[in-house]
Amino acid sequence: MATFDEYIEKVSRYVAEMRSRGERAREFDHPGSPEKLREGLPIEVGPSANPGIILRSDSFLELGNPEAGSCAAFLWTDRPSLIRDGRITLFGPGIQESAEASLPFGQVLMVGGDGLEPEDHEKLQQAQHVADQIEGYMVRSASQNLWSRLSKDVAARGFDFETLGRALMNLVKTGAPAVSAAEVLFVTTSKEDIKRLDGIISGAKEVGRNILKETWKARGYDLDCDFDCASCKDQVVCDEIKDVIVARRKKAESDESRGSSSP
């Protein structure tokens, strides 16, 4: 089964390329437990930490407006050694130096835990959903794009990307105790850099979708079909068709790789 390891490695190469291009990387290290991650933060983190909404007029900063550029990914692995626990990497302007700005925003949250399995995927995704759990930080409720606002109030208290990174890692470690390592990458340099990052991680979304499909299938639901497989009289034919589709795809991939390796 396809995993996210390939994408974690691609993100690592992206970071290396950004450095070699001369982009300044700011790094923060906060390994450890959820409690340790919360220690000393200038904000509350957890359910109802941000009970209200942040109006436009109360915003210090906007991140990930689609016009400015936005991308996000959540990647997990059962090989925690691929993740450097607690590392927060930032390329581009920070929050405190960007009052009233609308920054391009890329966020990749990577977590690892021994024994993490595809069945954990949905739970892991839920764990990193911000909702009202980070004081002064509101992510727009949208199924696509990560577009968020930061309040003037928490900006005045020193909220920056280190704060956000720690908060996100805290949320996911609290919500999914099987996670032993978490790392975050933030990119606010330019729309082009965000687009490039999006190009690297967009395949991960398909992996996630396929994992979900298999997980629901194991529970007896076919996400591609509205009918209940167990009671459907066409199940045999349906399964055969799927086998044929899989075989055709494999053949097409093999033909393509033979064609590309030909002189």
Binding site: P51, G52, I53, L55, R56, P66, E67, E122, Q126, H129, A131, D132, M138, R140, S141, A142, S143, Q144, N145, R209, L212, K213, W216, R219, G220, Y221, D222, L223, D224, C225, D226, F227, D228
Partner: protein, 438 residues
Amino acid sequence: MDRDAVREKSLARYKQERDWFALLREATKQVPGEEGRLQEKLLTILLDSKETVVDCVENEKPFIAGYFCNAPELFHAMDLPWYMLMETPFLAASAPYLLSDVEGAENMGIGTDLCTAIRLPIYYIESGLMPVPTAVLGLLYPCDGAPMLHQVLEHNKAWQDVPIYSCDPPYTSDERAVEYFADELRRMADFLQKHTGKTLDMKKLVEVCEESNRSYTLWQDYNELRRSVPCPHGWEIGGAQAFAISQCFVAGDPRCTDWFRQLYKCGELKIREGKGASATEGWKERIRLFWFDIMPYGWIFELMPWLEEEWGAVIVMDMFSNFPYTLIDTSSEKTIFHGLAKRNLLDAPMIRQARGTAENFSNDISRIVKDYKIDCVIWPGHMGHKDGAATTGIMRDTCRELAVPFLHIGLDLFDRRYTSPDEVREKISQYFRGMGIG
């Protein structure tokens, strides 16, 4: 009936419906404040669209019948008037003649297991109550019922010579599917130009899509306001109206953007005043609901006000208010048609749920429950949404994992006789009591 007879009869009915909305607009002029102005603006946009269709029928100008998911920005860019084939059940369900129309459909012999929203336009067509347009845009998705309507058109004496085009919907929802559907929209535009004499000017389409983007941006901004506790508006304001303004009349018109600005203003005012959905003295919001379908427009006044006043239960989010959209990239013809294809194939309500893969149900519920602090998810179980019936298990499982109550009712959104409002109220009350909600 021949076309001339239909012309007279349908115009009389269309004017009757127009007059119903004109009456409602007069009533809104008596409502003070910004919310009164909001409703007045909405009804003005609606009435202007209806007047345009009346003018087209009376003066034999080109106009079409289509759907909200046929990329209405294209119609507006071509300055092509249109009306929605399922207009009455969707927009005019409060009209006093609706129940007798439903009975008329039954007396005609149209199967009562067919969605009422489809039965009604079939009845109107067969009874000569729907204006015959210059051309028709059909709908082959999201449900099996929709194509049946077009089979009726093709056999009806007054409609059978009207050219009809239906975009072919791909089965999958990947990039290849979106590109395919973009080509279908291009073919649709060619069809409209051929049969109506209108022209699609790309410069004008860019303007319309950019205006549409402004409307949608404001819509999304407004939806964020509904996350507030208490929610500034209930079932009456925002929500489904936003869907209607953005997709059912003159998509991409500055009047729509102006309406959304007014909507945001109304919402922000309520939040700053700390006010919730009801103005009743001492009222408190106690239950936040996600109503995962169209509102029960056929008998809405017998349910929604009761929910708010009796239980303090507010529809914070519903299927048509949901915002899964992305903005249209207007940098080229290719990106515009791509954006329109994505919006109309993957994002528009009901299409998203009934045509899309079942994970849309699960993902939307998860996001909305968390972001909008939902206390209970209601799947009305409309008799015409059988496509969602099998997905009930997925929705229930998702809600279980989120530890949020899920109520499946079973009703007809347009016909109060299917499950009476009394029964629905009783079912909801028992459920709330049993679950200890509110």
